[in-house]
Structure formats: C-alpha cells, structure tokens
C-alpha cells in the first residue's frame, strides 16, 4: 500500500485517499513551439527503472496537488514536496542521492548541484 505524506496538511495519506496525476516537472510547450517539442511534451513520458518524480492530489483530503519522488523498482518513497517548484528541493535530491547515486531526470540529476 502506497503511503504519501501530504506536504500541505501533513496527513500520511494512503493510496485510496490520493489521485495520481502523472509525471512531474513537465516543461510545457504551447503555441509557437515546434512540432518535436510539442510531441515530446505531450507523449514522450519519462519511464525510468528507478527514480521517478510524479504529481499526486490529496483528493479525499485537503484537495491540493503535490509532488512525490519514488522508486519504480522498489516502490520506495524518497519524499514529497510542494508543487510550486520547477525542481525538487535540495533536501529531497540529497535523500535520493544517498540511496541512488548517479540518478538523473531530464534537466536535473545527482550531479547538478
């Protein structure tokens, strides 16, 4: 059973309380962008075996969107954080690095700081 702590209301919510919202930190491409960027934004999902950043909504709770860092091969949760950010906070990155050295995700990675 997946349990994520909502960074807003502090509730340790189990999966039935949450709604999954897919990949986090998507860089959006809209009108005026070229076809490749738009295509990648819409369809080319990150699908790593390992560290994955994703959006969740505390649907049957405070109702707010937040982000979670999770491992897709062990189902381990590295941490959750507020959604109003372009990349994970350093503290989360450090936690991931401690367990998965060499991880990377689109523009940011273990080595980025």
């Amino acid at each position: 059973m997946l349990i994520l702590e909502c960074p807003y209301c502090g509730v340790k919510a189990e999966e039935t309380e949450l709604a999954a919202g897919g990949e986090a930190h998507l860089k959006r491409f809209g009108p005026g962008s070229d076809d490749n960027d738009f295509h990648d934004y819409l369809f080319m999902r990150e699908n790593p075996k390992g560290v994955h950043f994703e959006r969740w909504r505390h649907a049957n709770g405070c109702g707010k969107w937040f982000h979670a860092a999770r491992c897709t091969t062990t189902l381990e949760v590295f941490g959750t954080y507020a959604a109003q950010t372009y990349e994970p906070p350093q503290e989360i990155k450090d936690k991931i690095t401690a367990k998965r050295p060499g991880w990377s995700w689109r523009e940011f990675s273990d080595a980025s700081e």
């Binding site: 999966e15 999954a20 819409l42 369809f43 080319m44 897709t72």
Partner: protein, 414 residues
C-alpha cells in the same frame, strides 16, 4: 523433433515414458545471428516463428532475461477476442484470433484454444450505443460479432445478476468465435517450433547494452557475452522504454502494473467469458474450474510486478454485484504484470530511429490475444520492411496526430 500424437502417447505408455525429449534446446549463444529477438514471451517467440516459417530466416536468437513465457505471457487472463472498433486494430486482432483457431495443428502443440465466446456487457446507455456501433463496424470489417439483449445474456450466463445495485445489464456485445487459450502452452508451442527450425532460445541472458554503430545496431551486450546481429527486434513489453534507452531512442510509453487473480476451483458454472467494463471486472472459468478474474491497471509507474491492493478490492466488488455467487468464493492467488501503455492505448509495431532495429510493444492490457497476429506482422515488417497490418501502428503516429483511438471503445483493461 518427435511429433506429438495419440500414437506417441501410446508408444511412450508402453516404455514407461522414457522416450519424451526436451521440447526445446538450451544452447550457448553464438557470436553472430542474422536476427536477434530480445524477449522470449509470446510476441518474441511468435515473431521468430513466423520469420522462419513465412520468410525462411532461421539464423535467429531469442534472448530472454528470465525464463520464456515468464512475463506477461504467463500473467494474463488468457482472453482472445477481436471485437474492436477501429479498422487497424480489428485487422490485427482478427488475424491473431484466426491464427489461434489452427495454432494447435500448426505448432503440433495443444494450446487448448477454446472458442467459448466473449461477452462485453453494456451497463449504461452510452455503452449500448458504443457497442452497437462496434457491432456495425465489425460487420464491415468481417469480424463476426452481434448485439444481444439482456434475456440472451441471462441464457448464456445463468449466474449473472441482470439487475445489479448500481448498473443493470442492458445488453452485450457478443463474439461467439472469441474465447480463451492456455497461455503457457502458446509460449511453449512457439518455443518448441522455433527450436526445431534451428533457432537458439537463450534464457537467463539479460541484455545489458545495445551497440549502435553509424545509426545501426551492430549487436547486443548480454550477461552471456556480446552477440552480433544484422537485425534486431525488441519485444519486451513493460521493459521497452528501458531497452530503447540502451539503443538511444525514446518511446511514448509508461509502464504500470496490471493485476489478476483466481479463485478456488469450483464446478463448471460459466462457459463464456464475461467482461463488465463499466464496473471494471472480467471473469472466465478455467478448465481446472478456477474463476479467472482480471482487474484494472494502477495509476502510477511501476516495474515491480506487484499492484495496489485497493484495485483488487474494486475488481472483486464489481464482480460481486455482477455475479453474486462470487461473494462465497475464496481467492487462491493474485499477481501482477508490468504492462506498457502508450498515449492512445494502442501498440507500436514499428521501425525505429535506429535503422535495423524494430520495436513491437505497447500492447498494454491486451497483449495475449494478439500474439500470433503481432508475430505474423512483426516478422513481415522485419523481413521485408513493410507489413500492411502494421502501417497504422508506427511510432510517428503521435507526431502526425493519427491516433488509433481505441480506448474509447474498450474503456478499461481488456
């Protein structure tokens, strides 16, 4: 290869079954093959089989990380049907269904194909319209399906509750020639036939890298050493993104867990397959008497072959309201598989940015039923560079906006 037959059974009975041979060889890999297929599941083995049978290409290795047929081929609910709305899907699934009809004779291996009929229940007004439309589309595609009324549903499935607490049964889309088959036997039958043609099935051999030189695959690095190839086929379902990464291209795909469960064996009570897509559950009875139950996919990415427990609860809840007798059944086993899902929920059978590398993945929740058709088409694509069955399933369709909008018709896991 010694053929299986009634005579063979009698012959072996007379000599204490000492004469049976191994169904396939387990050779060490050679340094070079004309074609390397990664993934010895149903799709990979079927591709290899039709490469040999239809195109005479037999210098083939099929490489498997675990054991053959141990992934989604051995984890599905064995349903075979072809009642799809869109022409490209109907074509490839109907090809597959028709190949299943003669597969046991073709492979000399009993795959226990049982054309018992598949019924998709309509439980909302929208589903009635949707399924009637599908029945009309199927008539034009040459796929035999029909719309049936609730009275006929009850006649075919006496254990069903037509007047459920949430959704009444308003009719169904009925495909009489659809059914089930023994999933392991499909993999084993293809493996035996491939091995007989001289192909090497190399199990417990993990691909750790793909060597790309001048935009072409030169070979693969494996846990049993490097293997060179002229052409490569990737048929690794949930691990497709991971393998494509090694070859340096990306896929429009996410991997999620899909679960199934079986009950204790009971006396025969339902001799068709019933799918209830509105309440999310489907069920059939295996030859052993177990009720085989399929659930929905998880929402979050996952490679662990384990799913969320609450999805099982949802599935069982749906079945209890559709078949009240299910509430008295004990469930024996539950398991998960990792399915690869694309943006439009239809597969990719395609050339790739790497010239001599071909990919076949994205079957998501509907891979087993398509195995022979998928292998047939993939073999044609790999051997000749073109297959009429795969034209619409290219990777480029997302860029071109030419989706195969089938999830509208299927609704959920299928």
């Amino acid at each position: 290869m010694k053929r299986y037959s009634a005579f063979a059974v009698a012959r072996e009975a007379l000599r204490y079954h000492t004469g049976w041979e191994r169904a396939w060889r387990s050779p060490e890999p050679k340094r070079h093959y004309d074609v390397v297929i990664v993934g010895a599941g149903g799709h990979g083995l079927a591709t290899a089989y039709y490469l040999g049978k239809n195109f005479g290409i037999t210098n083939v290795a099929i490489i498997e990380k675990g054991w053959l047929g141990g992934g989604n081929t051995g984890r599905n609910t064995t349903i075979i049907r072809s009642n799809y709305l869109q022409d490209p899907s109907a074509a490839i699934y109907e090809k597959a269904r028709s190949l299943y009809e003669t597969m046991s004779q073709d492979l000399n291996y009993n795959v226990m194909f049982s054309p018992r009929g598949v019924m998709m229940l309509a439980q909302t007004e929208h589903e009635i319209r949707g399924y009637k439309r599908t029945a009309h589309a199927n008539a034009l595609q040459g796929v035999q399906t029909e719309w049936i009324e609730p009275a006929r549903v009850k006649e075919l499935v006496p254990i069903i509750n037509l007047h459920g607490p949430r959704y009444p049964v308003l009719g169904a889309l009925w495909q009489e020639r659809a059914g089930t088959a023994r999933h392991d036997a499909v993999a084993w039958g293809y493996a035996r036939a491939c091995s007989d043609m001289g192909m090497d099935i190399i199990q417990q051999c993990e691909v750790t890298g793909v060597r790309v030189e001048n935009g072409r695959v030169a070979g693969v690095e494996t846990s049993k050493g490097p293997i060179d190839c002229d052409k490569m086929g990737m048929l690794v379902a949930g691990n497709a993104s991971h393998l494509a990464d090694m070859a340096g291209f990306r896929l429009p795909m996410e991997s999620v867990a899909l679960q199934a469960l079986v009950s204790e064996p009971i006396k025969p009570c339902m001799d068709v397959v019933v799918m209830a897509n509105t309440v999310h559950g489907y069920m059939s009875q295996s030859d052993k008497g177990e009720m085989v139950i399929g659930g929905g996919t998880d929402a979050a990415n996952n490679y662990t072959q384990r799913g969320s427990f609450h999805h099982i609860e949802e599935t069982v809840r749906a079945l209890v309201e559709t078949f009240p007798m299910v509430s008295r059944l004990k469930m024996l086993r539950q398991w998960g598989g990792i399915v690869d899902v694309t943006g439009d929920r239809s597969p990719l059978i395609s050339k790739t940015p790497v010239g001599n590398c071909f990919i076949n993945c994205g079957w998501g929740t509907g891979g087993f039923k398509s195995i022979p058709g998928s292998g047939w088409a993939m073999a044609e694509l790999m051997a000749t560079g073109h297959s009429p069955l795969t034209e619409e399933f290219t990777m480029n369709r997302f860029k071109e906006g030419k989706f195969i909008d089938e999830s509208v018709a299927a609704g959920v896991a299928h």
